[in-house]
């Protein structure tokens, strides 16, 4: 591996918001490109479906274009998969797991059990 001190110095002076914007735009461009390949769709076909010129699509794929949510939604509809997804907060879920013949130790009983032959225990997990 090789580093370049002058390049590292330049990277250190890049504003964090510019770094984030570039990273996001590149990720989106790469995602659209990968979805085109997955759908075996040419840029020309995609341009026609989006109602755009091919040159505009080409620019999209370089990461130089800032997308609106409207356009991202349309792209997702055309390509059949989301382009970007918003991370959702943690969700608490309860799962009841049937365990044949399981006898709960009394101190862990949480009121979920019905009979000795078809016992259940509940498990809490974060999504």
């Amino acid at each position: 591996m090789k580093k370049n001190p002058l390049f590292d110095k330049c990277v250190a002076t890049v504003a964090p918001e510019v770094m984030e914007e570039v990273s996001l735009n590149v990720d989106i461009a790469n995602r659209i490109y990968d979805l085109l390949k997955k759908n075996k769709m040419t840029q020309r076909e995609f341009a026609a479906l989006m109602g755009k010129r091919e040159s505009e699509i080409s620019r999209w794929l370089t990461g130089s274009h800032g997308f609106t949510t409207t356009t991202l939604s349309k792209i997702a509809a055309v390509l059949g998969e989301p382009v970007v997804e918003v991370k959702k907060g943690p969700e608490v879920r309860y799962v009841f797991v049937p365990v044949q013949g399981f006898i709960t130790p009394s101190e862990s009983y949480d009121g979920s059990y019905n009979d000795r032959n078809h016992s259940y225990f509940s498990m809490k997990y974060f999504n």
Binding site: N4, L6, F7, E21, S23, N30, S58, T62
Partner: protein, 172 residues
Amino acid sequence: MRPGTLCCMGKLELVIESDNLSIYSPKFDGEVQTEFEKFMSDNGSLPHPQLKKDFDAIIAVLRKMVDDCGARENLFRLEGRNIKAIPLCVEQKRSKGVGTLRLYCIRISEKILIIGNGGIKKVRKYEDDPVLKDIVDRLRSIEHKIYVAARKTKADYEDYQEVKIIIETITI
């Protein structure tokens, strides 16, 4: 060196290397810096905020390629034949007359990039600026030499090790 001359000899020097990407840059005989280092030195402190943002965007894209995605083919602006430019992946309002910063390169594969020099483009086509034209013409000459060497050895551009040997031994 005057614009319009293609006389210098030199080598391609490895500037940055990661698991995702190897970046080479021409270093001409008698020069201390590679062409990419010269670009960074000359354009790293541009006073106009629009050009400073262009420079930051170019550096950020290269950082992204080195650390993450490599030199994916969709990410490059086409400048004519096999010469590409690093894209500006930021949105900003552009004032007239200020120009746009350009950095020219040769994309060999997803894992090998040869970065030349660049500058502020205030004309519609780079051919209309003698300095930019010279930079692109020199890169084009280098690209042709690599192509000829690869054809001679029947090397596939996607074969990283084979192409690496050509790039590191070629005289430009």
